[in-house]
Amino acid sequence: MNFRKYLKVYKKFLHTSLASELEYKTNILVDLITAILSLVGSIFLLSIFFQNNGYIGGWKFEQALIIQAIYTILNGITNTWFNPNLTEIVKHIREGTLDFVLLKPIDSQFFISLKKINPSGFLEIMLGFLLLFFCIKINQINLNLSFLTLSLITISCSICILYSLWFFISTTTIWFVKTWNAIEVLRSFLYIGRFPLNSFSFSLRIFFSVFIPIAFITTIPSEVFLGLSVLWKILLEVIVATVFLINSRKFWLFALKFYSSASS
């Protein structure tokens, strides 16, 4: 693949979508307030859980905050890239404009996954990092190189898994046409990523690590931050992430065979 060409195309994508999104400036402000309120709300919820208990699922309040921080960062990434692009697939398929994407001399998955960007998600990512730094301070985590690389690896794996989940669901649009609500189901499942996996019952834990690996997304990176993580868990996350990424690619190419335009 021609890396430089794709980089150049991506720059153009950034430029056009930023320009169009910045037209709605008040919108960005409203989104910022939404992101702050939503973080305050979930910390409030967490504080209710902890008001009479020191530990939940073996996690202290300060430690559980790390999960919130990572969730907020990942949610920001979802809102910046995945949500605006992958909901667009539904529109492409309903209106038949996917034809134009497929005709372009560029990889269709690349085009469809990165075309748009929603700048208000950046604010959420920053908010998440602020909370993360605060957590690093109150949990007295010392930063060293191995810790940084491990956390970087696990968080990038989480991003890959998250992307694949979104992409899987959006790809099914080729058969079902309307999948807005399937995305809502995914969203509501992702919501449990705000809490430590150990706070759920055994059956739910199995469900969320085997069938829908939401458990991997926030809990393992948080464990890395606390120095609790064992090597096999990290390796497992890397494997799950690669499997998911490769399959999302294969699934897209497979689904395209069934694409039969619209109208005309």
Binding site: Y24, T26, N27, V30, D31, I33, T34, L37, S38, G41, S42, F44, L45, S47, I48, F49, Q51, N52, N53, I56, G57, F176, K178, W180, N181, A182, E184, V185, R187, S188, Y191, I192, F195, S199, F200, S201, L204
Partner: protein, 264 residues
């Protein structure tokens, strides 16, 4: 004569919308599934014995969250998203000419969707009882009727609030981001994720003056047989409706004057 006409209009609208909704059964089933967050919350509460500190037994808490799920299912409102799309596409113009407030159309849409959703919600409740057989109960008829009324009132409050937000479309075009902002307090304060009884005292002191606890917490407590002030709750619900309705009428009146047809 006039009431007869209104009856016929409402009946026709409902019939049309119901057959429209039946086309998207799978969509609505998925949407029903996306509302299962209360069950995840229940899992956290009971799995960590958090309910001991607020003096609610496991059984009562599971009933509470099941009822919260039901109340949420039948009070979901999305009028702002429909109205925003219609207003951006210029579809509002033909509606405005008709001798019928377009919000009746959306209202019928919501009611029809609730009727379609009912069997799916029952199926989910059935599965819930399979996993939690000890929480089966039969509320007496009076309570059942009262809670249906209060769920409907909760739906009305949310419908009015969202319609007011939707009318902002006449000024800003992207009113849905304001709705997303308003959704955050609704999510955290309505009792969907944690019963209002469990909130810390500094929140409880003012929360009963806001509409939020009457959206889910009050009807769910009523239906599940948890302690609640029935008369006070119903009065507050009605009070909020009387407060919001003139506001909606005012903003609708101002908005239609401001409206400049888009598209076509």
């Amino acid at each position: 004569m006039i009431s007869n006409l209104i009856n016929r209009k409402i009946f026709t609208l409902l019939k049309v919308q119901y057959s429209n909704m039946l086309e998207y059964r799978v969509e609505i089933a998925l949407w029903a599934i996306s509302g299962i967050i209360p069950f995840f919350m229940l899992n956290i509460w009971t799995n960590n014995n958090l309910n001991e500190s607020i003096n609610i037994s496991d059984v009562m808490l599971s009933r509470y969250f099941l009822c919260a799920f039901f109340v949420r299912q039948f009070s979901v409102v999305w009028v702002v998203f429909s109205f925003e799309e219609d207003s951006l596409m210029g579809k509002v113009s033909p509606y405005l000419i008709q001798p019928l407030n377009p919000f009746f159309r959306y209202f019928a849409q919501h009611l029809a969707e609730q009727i379609t959703r009912f069997p799916f919600a029952l199926i989910i409740a059935f599965f819930f009882f399979i996993f939690n057989p000890e929480s089966i109960w039969i509320p007496n008829l009076g309570i059942l009727l009262l809670s249906i009324v209060s769920t409907f009132l909760s739906f009305l409050i949310q419908f009015l609030i969202q319609s007011i937000v939707a009318c902002l479309c006449f000024w800003t075009e992207k009113a849905s981001s304001i709705e997303r902002l308003l959704f955050i307090p609704t999510l955290f304060l309505s009792g969907l994720l944690a019963p209002v009884v469990s909130f810390p005292a500094y929140v409880k002191s003012w929360i009963y003056l806001t509409p939020f606890p009457y959206l889910i917490d009050f009807p769910a407590n009523l239906l599940s047989g948890n302690e609640t002030n029935i008369r006070g709750g119903l009065i507050m619900q009605i009070l909020w409706i009387f407060l919001l309705f003139p506001l909606f009428k005012k903003i609708w009146f101002e908005g239609t004057k401001k409206y400049t047809a888009m598209g076509s």
